[in-house]
């Protein structure tokens, strides 16, 4: 399998990258890890006129807490998240997800920014971002803007990014005491796309859930933000009754389709099962357990 021809650019600044993207008006693609893009090109299902390799731009790969945020640079490799003690300690949902995305070799190339901005509803990080209430810093010709995860995913492979914009940083609110989160993924086989996935972020205070975020993977044209399900938890005591109710609400918004990874009714039911599991784990983690 051989990709079609393309112009290749490896700019050393973001501005230059944005300028090239602008010049190609939607016919260029950003190349980060390439682990999703290159297979599609090799199948000749995508024929971008140009690739803009952002790996030569300095200072785009980092994981650090700064101000009120955990900041992850767009070209941070998935395995760097997986290996990050900061993530393990304070953002276990990221470790949950990063450890089950494809396989270790793909994770050595694949980037956080790529997973998030590719727009594939079967990618694992978007649901986590929705659950965490993350926002994305985006560089375009007019400078930088931030887009909340909740308004980032428009349709399959379609995000709020303009053709001449680049996702540069993922910003996740710093955890507070009483916060716990988890990602549960069901897969046919290690490294496969998910059958479904559920991301949960909980904030508990005084044996009550103060706030919650829920994201769903692979049950719609994009990762889904299960807002009603999350809202149903607010003010409730963490426990099976509340979790079951939230899981039911999450199942209601799932729009799965039947395919090689299972019939729609199974996927919907699994959203319920995984949501409860992730809620239990998140709640345990919120109480300081893990």
């Amino acid at each position: 399998m051989i990709p079609p021809r393309f112009e290749y650019f490896a700019p050393s600044t973001l501005d230059e990258a944005v300028e090239i993207l602008g010049r190609y008006g939607g016919e260029a693609k950003v190349l980060a890890g390439g682990q999703s893009l290159l297979p599609v090109m090799k199948l000749r299902l995508a024929e971008p006129k140009a690739l803009v390799d952002i790996n030569r731009i300095p200072d785009l790969a980092y994981i650090r807490e700064d101000g009120g945020w955990l900041r992850i640079g767009a070209t941070t490799r998935m395995n760097d998240v997986n290996d990050s003690n900061l993530a393990k300690r304070r953002y276990p949902i990221l470790t949950d997800a990063a450890s089950v995305i494809a396989d270790p070799l793909v994770r050595n190339m694949g980037t956080v920014g790529g997973n998030i901005s590719h727009g594939d509803p079967a990618n694992d990080l978007p649901a986590c971002m929705l659950a965490l209430g993350a926002q994305f810093a985006v560089r375009g010709p007019k400078g930088t803007r931030t887009i909340p995860a909740a308004s980032f995913y428009l349709d399959t492979f379609t995000t709020a990014l303009e053709p001449d914009e680049i996702l540069t940083e993922i910003q996740i609110p710093k955890p507070r005491t009483g916060q716990g989160n988890a990602y549960e993924k069901l897969e046919k086989r290690a490294g496969d796309f998910p059958i479904v996935g559920v991301a949960i972020n909980l904030f508990e205070s005084g044996r009550k859930i103060e706030s919650a975020g829920i994201g769903l993977t692979a049950v719609g044209p994009t990762a889904l933000h299960a807002k009603a399900a999350a809202d149903s938890l607010v003010g409730q005591a963490p426990g099976d009754a509340a979790f079951r109710r939230a899981a039911e609400l999450a199942m209601q918004i799932a729009q799965p389709v039947s395919d090689l990874r299972g019939p729609a009714e199974y996927k919907r039911a699994m959203i319920g099962v995984l949501a409860q599991r992730a809620l239990r784990t998140a709640s345990k983690r919120a109480g300081g357990g893990a």
Binding site: M1, E7, Y8, L105
Partner: protein, 174 residues
């Protein structure tokens, strides 16, 4: 089929890019089409055919090489992405004619049969042991989850990795 009677003059293709990569310690430089995959650069340009192609879609790991020490699938990386970087392939494992402990482990524990996935499997193992010199069986199995083997059933591959780990820890050749 008259068109084929004679080889044509060098056809104009492209776009091209100049790539400088250090492979197994030796610098290489070549002008290649920008779309050239790293695996084809290694196999067809440098004639290092130990790195294989098995699936084309980043699933099987037969094409695994080390890029700046990290195990990656060279069929899903452009040669231009390796510009200025270090690549290590199976041909670079043995040093001064002495087998790498990982190579030794695969022989001793019968960790290979047809040998097609083996170079990729070994490169993943080298990277694993560099990061985790004493992996558990579970860690080994997860670490090689991106390398498919159709012959061995993995049991002996796990043993081969354990052999190499022990040998490396025991102060054998590195």
């Amino acid at each position: 089929m008259d068109e084929a009677e004679a080889m044509p003059a060098e056809a104009e293709v492209g776009p091209f890019a100049r790539v400088r990569v250090t492979v197994n310690g030796a610098p290489h430089e070549a002008e290649v089409e920008t779309r050239t995959l790293l695996v084809h650069f290694i196999r067809d340009v440098l004639h290092l055919t130990g790195t294989h192609i098995g699936c084309d879609t980043t699933n099987c790991g037969a094409c695994t090489v080390l890029l700046d020490g990290k195990a990656v699938k060279s069929c899903t990386i452009l040669a231009v992405q390796a510009e200025g970087r270090q690549v290590r392939t199976v041909e670079g494992l043995a040093e001064d004619g002495k087998l790498h402990p990982v190579q030794e482990g695969f022989v001793e524990e019968h960790g290979l049969q047809c040998g097609f996935c083996t170079p990729g499997m070994m490169m993943t193992t080298v990277a694993l042991l560099a990061k985790n010199p004493n992996p558990s069986e579970d860690e080994i199995r997860h670490a090689i989850a991106g390398n498919l083997c159709r012959c061995t059933g993995y049991v002996n591959i796990v043993k081969a990795v354990q052999y190499a780990a022990q040998k490396s820890r025991g102060g054998g050749s590195k």
